[in-house]
Structures are given as C-alpha cells and as structure tokens.
Amino acid sequence: MLKREKFIEYMLRFCASLSIIFLFGIAISLFKEGLPIFKVVNPLKFIFGKFWYPTHEPPEFGILPLILASILVTFGAMMVAVPLGVGSAICIAELSPPKIREIIKPMIELLAGIPSVIYGFFGMVVFAPFVQRLFNIPVGLNAFTASCLLGIMALPTITSIAEDAIASVPNEIKEASYALGATKWETITRAVIPSAKSGILTAVILGLGRAIGETMTVLMVAGGAAVIPRSFLQPVRPMTATIAAEMGEAPAGSLHYHALFAISIILFLITLGLNILANYIKEKGYEKI
C-alpha cells in the first residue's frame, strides 16, 4: 500500500512540475528563435525604430509603433475597466443584498467565458460603425474601439479579484468605523477600500496583463496601421495583432520570423514583469494585515 502511495505522490509531483517545464520550455524557445534578429538589427534600432516593413526589400524592423499601440490600447482599456470593475466590486461586496450579489457576480464572471473572436466580431460589425458615426471620423477601427472592447474583456478579472479583496476585509474594521459614527459611504471610502488596497491593485495589474496579451479582438478591431499613434481615434497595430497576423506566412528561419519572435520576447517580459509586480503587491499587503 505504501509503495502505491509513494507512486501516486511522484505522479502528482510530476504533474505539478510539468507547468514549470512548459514555462521554461516556452521561454527558451522564444529566446532561441527571437535573439538571432539582433545579430542583424541593432536592439535599440529594433525597439525604437519607427517603421515596420518586414517584407519590403530591404526590410525595416522598427517596433516602436507596435509597442506604443499596445500601451495606448491597454491604457485605454484600463480607463474603462478600472472604474467599472472596482465600482461593481464595491457594489457587489458592500451594497447589494446577498440575493442580488448571487446573480450579479456570476453574470460578470460569465463575460470572461465569451470567446474573444465574438468580441472582435461584435466590435467590427456593430461597435466600430457606431464609433465612426459618433465621432464623425473616417474609420471606426481604431484604438478607442479596441480599448472599449478590451476594457469589457478585462472587467471580469478585475471585478472578481477586487470583490474577493473587499469581501475579505475583516468585519472588525467596519464595525470600528461605524462605532466611531461614520456613515456607510465614509466607511467604504475611508476604511474598507484602504484595507483592501493591495488586493484591488493586484486585480488591476492582472486585468492589465489580460488586456495587453489579448490578440484576436485587437487583430479584428484595432485597424492594423503600423504608425506611431497620436490620438485615440486613430487605427493602430498592437504587438499581439502583428504576431498573429504575420506568423502564419513568415518563412521559418527568415529575418521576419525571428523579428516576430523578438516581439514575443518583449511581450513575454512585459507580462512576466506585471505578474511579478502583482505577486509582490499581494505579498506586501498580507504582511501588513
């Protein structure tokens, strides 16, 4: 019997270590396929170059427009998702009666289950023409449209984690606040939110990671023009959309192929950084409480 238990234990350990192996495998292959571009193109020129003409003769590999597009769209998404997400988290955790809470929370989490291609299709056919008429601009596929859709997509992540953080604020804190004569609003803004601060921040950062890595939707609605964005109402081409659109046709082993992997490296480093930051804030928050 003991032998059998040992065997099961080893199997489970193996399963757990698999995900680490996958992570390292992915990282290693990314670097292996991406680094060769830097033998030909100066890394600084790659990151700060203003023109992306990968199939032109001679090719130009400047990804600054792509990086700025990703940042712009993600920032825009956060402008939509943070107020809505944190607001609904407060509403669910503090203001609504349990019955309504039981309906709203699963509904918002259901948003996370909608495939991104559906968001993209909706954006392209319904939302983009609406944006075009609303602002009276030449084309509706732009950073603004992409931001709104990404914001809605990041909403479940932010709401769900922020709600957990707010709900786990100890009752003693609230009771103490009420005992001092504070109103409900004062209790929420001055006692509950400050104590749940680190959890809310973690939620925002994870939502940020969700938005920056999203591919299908931005491929369909961001417009795809590789220019340095000057306004929200301009078509842009984020990094993820570039990789998804071009990887299929880039001949394996070509400069274009290595350049796309190099973009992946940069994207990987950004999301890794965001996750580490989220973890750090979470840990720090626990230490305080």
Binding site: V125, P138, V139, Q234, R237, E249
Partner: protein
C-alpha cells in the same frame, strides 16, 4: 478473477488496435497544406473525390502559402497549395534538400478593388491605385471623386493577396504607413462596406452587392476578363508537388482540372483555368 478480466481487457484492446491498423493501412492518404485562398477549392474537391474513392483519405490544412511550401520541402505534405509562385530562396532551399517542386495552375483568382457603394467614382487606373496606396494621393478629389480623406485598407504584409497586389500595383514601392492592414479578405470587405471613405482590395469571390467593385484601367473585374487575361489584377493559384505529379497526387490534380473539378472552382468564387465546353 481480477487478473483474468485485466488480461481479457488487454486482449480486446490489442485486437482492436490490430484491426484499426490494418484498416488504416488499406487506405491511401494524401495531405495538402498551404494557402487559405486555395483551401476552399481543395477542401470541396477533396470531399467530392473521397465520395467517389472511398479508399482514399485526403486531409487539407491551411496555414498560408509559405507554410505549405515549407511543408513540401520538409516532406510533411504531398501537395503544397500556394497563391503565389515560389520565391528564389524557397526554390534554393528545396533543391538543397533534393526536392524538385513542380507547379500546376489549378485556378485563377482576380483581385477586385472595392469602395463603399456611396462612392461616386466609377473607375480607377493602375497609376491612381499606386499613388493612393503609396500615399501620394490622400484625397478622393484628386482621383475625380468627392472631396474627403481616403481610408486606405490593405491586407497584412504576410498574405498572398498582399504580395500579388504589391507586385502588380505597387511595383515594389512601400504601402503608406497609416494604411489599415487587416487580417482577412472578409475583414477588408466588411470594413469597406461600413466605411464611406474606404478603398480596399479582395479576392473576386468576396465581392458582393454591399460594396462597389471598380473597373481598373477600364476593365471590369469579372470571371470572363480574368480568364481572358484582360483584367490585370489577377493571379494564378498553384498546386506544388515534388517532381511531376504521380500516383494519387496525379489522380487528385487530374480531378481538380476535370470539368467537374473546375465547376467546383467556379462555385468557390474563382475562375477556372479550363473552359467547360
């Protein structure tokens, strides 16, 4: 008792595997990989062909012309579907691996220039198209339309359609940096349909009544003008094989080129290479 049942189980599974294997060995198989433009033709033809030859198993995969050609060079497919001729670099790499790619033209595809139905423009020249896509012209009034910004829509730099457009229209020049690069023919058609100031290009099969296809240099983009070679923005679609097609690959290619296969080509929105008379 328990041990017995295990042995029986294992026996049953083993027997199944044996029959399974023989079932597979009895089937001849053919793999096609490559261009998503050619894919619908190959898919429809494969279905028809397998109906007539139940002992044949054909699998058709997309991925793009580049992927298909790479697969042919690596020996992981029998036929590579391509919407462009092979590049010198690809030919070199094939030769170095002892592969001798042979092209068979199975259909033709016209690229139609489309604008919003409300656009008053009734035709366009190759030179005007080139100036619009390279950024020399940015206002509709410069090509004889109503004053307003031209929203330039292109396919992704990696697509076969873009490469043909680049070769035939841009003649090697760069597309303007602020052109919208979209990921599929369908996306270009939908965007032009919803954007009054837009101009775009799609495969002939994607032209609908919701967009306006412009005659180029005075020639209407139709199946007839593409087949006759009058319409300039057209390209052949290829099946690449290693050496002259033989065996099952030859049978399949012959089927695609037969009047039945060419009818499928036409139904899929492309132009047949052989007339059906």
């Amino acid at each position: 008792m328990k041990a017995w049942s295990k042995i029986v189980c294992a026996g049953v599974i083993f027997a199944h595997m044996l029959t399974w294997k023989t079932a597979f060995a009895g089937k001849k198989s053919l793999t096609l990989t490559g261009s998503t433009t050619v894919l619908p033709i190959a898919q429809l033809c494969a279905e028809k062909f397998m109906e007539q030859h139940p002992d044949v198993d054909i699998s058709v995969r997309g991925g793009g012309s580049g992927v298909g050609i790479a697969a042919l060079i690596d020996g992981t497919c029998d036929i590579a579907m391509a919407s462009r001729p092979m590049k010198t670099k690809e030919l070199k790499s094939a030769r170095s691996k002892g592969i001798n790619p042979v092209a068979t033209v199975i259909a033709r595809d016209g690229i139609a220039v489309i604008v919003h139905p409300s656009n008053p423009l009734s035709e366009i020249t190759l030179v005007q198209l080139r100036d619009i896509y390279t950024g020399k012209i940015s206002n509709w009034k410069d090509v004889g339309g109503k004053s307003g910004r031209i929203v330039v829509i292109s396919r992704d730099v990696a697509s076969g359609t873009f490469e043909v457009f680049k070769k035939l229209v841009l003649k090697g020049a760069k597309t303007r940096a602020d052109a919208l690069m979209l990921a599929s023919n369908k996306a270009v058609a939908t965007t032009v349909e919803k954007t009054p100031g837009a101009i775009g290009y799609v495969g002939l099969g994607y032209v609908s009544s919701k967009v306006k296809a412009l005659p180029v240099d005075g020639v209407e983009p139709t199946k007839k003008t593409v087949a006759s070679g009058e319409y300039k923005l057209a390209r052949p679609l290829y099946f690449y094989t290693d050496g002259k097609p033989k065996g099952l690959a030859k049978e399949f290619i012959d089927f695609v080129l037969s009047s039945e296969g060419q009818k499928i080509v036409e139904e899929a929105g492309f132009v047949p290479v052989k007339s059906n008379e």
